[in-house]
Symmetry: C2
Subunit: 543 residues, 2 copies
Amino acid sequence: MFRTAELGRTVSKDDFHEAAPLLRAELLEIQQQLRDAPFPVIIVFGGVDGAGKSETVNLLNEWLDPRWLSTRAYGKPSDEMEERPEYWRYWRDLPPKGRIGIFLSCWYSRPLLDRVYEKTTDAEFDEALDEVNTFEKELADDGALILKFWMHLGKKQQKERLRSLEKDPLTRWRVTQVDWDHWHMYDKFISAAERNIMRTSSAHSQWQIVEGLDKRYRSLTVATTILESIRKHLKRTKVQRRMIKALEKRSPSASSSASEPGPGSVLVSAETGGDDAPDGVVIPLSKVTILNHLDMSLTIATKDYRKELEKYQGKLNQAQRRARELGISTVLVFEGWDAAGKGGAIRRTTAALDARDYQVIPIAAPTDEERAQHYLWRFWRHLSRAGRVTVFDRSWYGRVLVERVEGFASEAEWNRAYAEINDFEDQLVRHGIVLCKFWVHITKEEQLARFKAREGVVYKRWKLTDEDWRNRERWDEYELAVNDMVERTSTSVAPWTLVEGNSKRYSRIKVISTVCDSLTTAIQRVEKAAGKTSGGKNLKRTG
Amino acid sequence: MFRTAELGRTVSKDDFHEAAPLLRAELLEIQQQLRDAPFPVIIVFGGVDGAGKSETVNLLNEWLDPRWLSTRAYGKPSDEMEERPEYWRYWRDLPPKGRIGIFLSCWYSRPLLDRVYEKTTDAEFDEALDEVNTFEKELADDGALILKFWMHLGKKQQKERLRSLEKDPLTRWRVTQVDWDHWHMYDKFISAAERNIMRTSSAHSQWQIVEGLDKRYRSLTVATTILESIRKHLKRTKVQRRMIKALEKRSPSASSSASEPGPGSVLVSAETGGDDAPDGVVIPLSKVTILNHLDMSLTIATKDYRKELEKYQGKLNQAQRRARELGISTVLVFEGWDAAGKGGAIRRTTAALDARDYQVIPIAAPTDEERAQHYLWRFWRHLSRAGRVTVFDRSWYGRVLVERVEGFASEAEWNRAYAEINDFEDQLVRHGIVLCKFWVHITKEEQLARFKAREGVVYKRWKLTDEDWRNRERWDEYELAVNDMVERTSTSVAPWTLVEGNSKRYSRIKVISTVCDSLTTAIQRVEKAAGKTSGGKNLKRTG
């Protein structure tokens, strides 16, 4: 694989000085165009020590406008990182749309070094690389341009390079014992690197192997590739936009159509539509959803409710105290109809917890910093440290609910969101986080009754907005979306709990008891795995 | 001080249930009004254990809309916190405008407990409380409403409370050994608390002592106080806005005036102005500023420049490697005229560093998340972890430069910014951070020459905008602002380095050698303090 990167290609000083100024000018120009683009550029550097990774990054920092460029490298994780899933650190450093982010020793580092040092098997290595692929695919799907450069040196070349760096007092510091250790492991490293490159090269994120021996050659190669790739990606994006606009003109989407079809049906745009008039066909929605199967008559007597609530609040409190000691985090997700009683259920649950241990994250419209990122970014950023409870009042499921129904997300976007969400939750669970997802369900009649009641109570009136009434009109579309959501994201690691919510008392008890049981199970698993010792810190990944 | 909080005040169940619903309604109503307000509400809870801090916070979470409310509590700091000045953690958690932030065991915790456990003297305690005062004053000056509740219990009451909590299996977990330890230190605690309350009560942030024995009494007291305070603050803010508008109408400010006075003078609004025509008086600007005293002919020969640059880059590189080991962070601030060569100086400096060790933070227009916070918030958030270099390309000094000259900040705002900035930098330096501030200076003629040259070079053309030309027209006003800035923020802990920049070579060497020297001095100080041992981690606060 690397033989073509050991050809000893060079660029002469004269050629370099002729090419460089023009290249710099074009890079700056493209960076200006990029600023308004709807995507970020993610540049990853990997490769052999001494092949010029840092120097190239420094050069890019010099040639590009540093205002729209960030460089991130990862060493030993901080405890704030350790206490969250591995990819949290990468998510928080992603460049927003219109900017370039350079990543050194990033998501490839651990899998590769673990394999080289034989901490992992080939199969485990592949698994780690699959995670990388999923991550990059999600970003690419969202429009990100991903460029990956593998800086290569032959074994002999690396030795010579390290030697010559050591000779010069000004560069001697660059060579450490680790570099020499790695040199001795060169063959192992190269074999792992090959596997790494093969398994993580795809149409949307291709590795480019760069011969690292000659500084001028590698600089021009990397810079030219970046320039050309951004240029192409900008063009592609523009064409896509134009196509989407043209398509929208031909067939207005359901969400923007003024004349709504009746409830129980959805407007589907016809492929053959040609003129300006809405030309969709109306197909009936399937009325049989998983929600129809819930026994909405379930309830609980007031006296029993009080007793049960107290019991579970006490249990939950003790469980959370233990979870805090063990470093077990909990993430609670609440989705449900307007007025379904999510807020009430959340408060009954948090009332059992110490204020120091939880935070409620209400998901409203994204801020502009959030809008400039992948839609999952704003959930990643809220993940708490070990041992805490994070409650999401509405969540990432907005993508496949409100964004789908209201047309804020395209069909392609919300369709691939199921897989993205499953992957996200899988990362949480694998990190040992207890994840409970609640759909609090009420019937359409019950909702109407509650809306009317809210109008009557002074301190609840603010809760009822015109939007609630508008959402209600789309009940059937939402019901279909909920059904799909439950079907496609109720995985074995992160199942949905459907809560029969016509009785507030019943639904609150169901929620708090579910949280209690999940947390208790997780605690027992961790304690068992640790042979019933305490001490938490090292255990938090075992759950 | 606390005698009036041991009167055994209670509220009957009936009275409570009559008052509570109305209070809740009003709280929700005021919270809705608050959402559009130009200030955040910061609520601090302190007090005796068992006096109902957590319960009250839980109650507020129940009564208020949790979507516009955040609760933060602080335990043992994470290493990411430890590696930054103490207040970094509080800054990052501040609520944005329009929201309420509740803080438990926050900035009062450490000073108070350190005093109770006799880790500090009264004088040191006072010093820590002064920091608290400065912090709160800055927030209050920016418009924040700060409410502080001290929840009190008598010694006997506390004992009884702990006992009764222990009796109930459901609340037993709430009582820990630490609580009993604290009870035994009750008198010491109360005496420190008194000093704490006395020294940190001011017009803008008053402590309210709340008798904590009766749950209903304390709940109503706290909730009512919050309601009334927000109501008053909203009114005050509205009145202020109206007054400012009225004043603006009477006397158009210099910055919004269309007919500019000639260079070398500034338009001062006349107090007596009444009609619509600009009615200011033109007073001459003092032309003698600190910048006039610079020897702008300083330069360095190309050959010497190359040699010096290489020398300092080598030195800086080694110094930074040692600084990284010792956990010494560096913050570099670059301010200067457009085209003064800040970018070039920054790149010559960062070129000596490993890409893993530094980040360049370009300060452009704030995002909406930043706009919703105190103006210093967006600099606090960028502080790096221990051992790193953070380069600010423009900085918090924008407040007293561009924001002052362009009228984005009011006179009161930029005037108090000097003290706020000095305090901010003082916190950095006390944490052991090496801080270098550069004003890169060029003459007006040199700037013109560079603007014209930029127009000639393809890859520099994008650097020149209409705004640069506009800024140039305000040269004299900026010069006055720079002079004031240097005068008022060149403190002994954080002096300005004025860089004679007409010769780019000279200025680059001056910058990099200054950074080198400062870093080397800091390293020597730390090494000396540690008796020349290495190991860094524990030393990072000694610098």
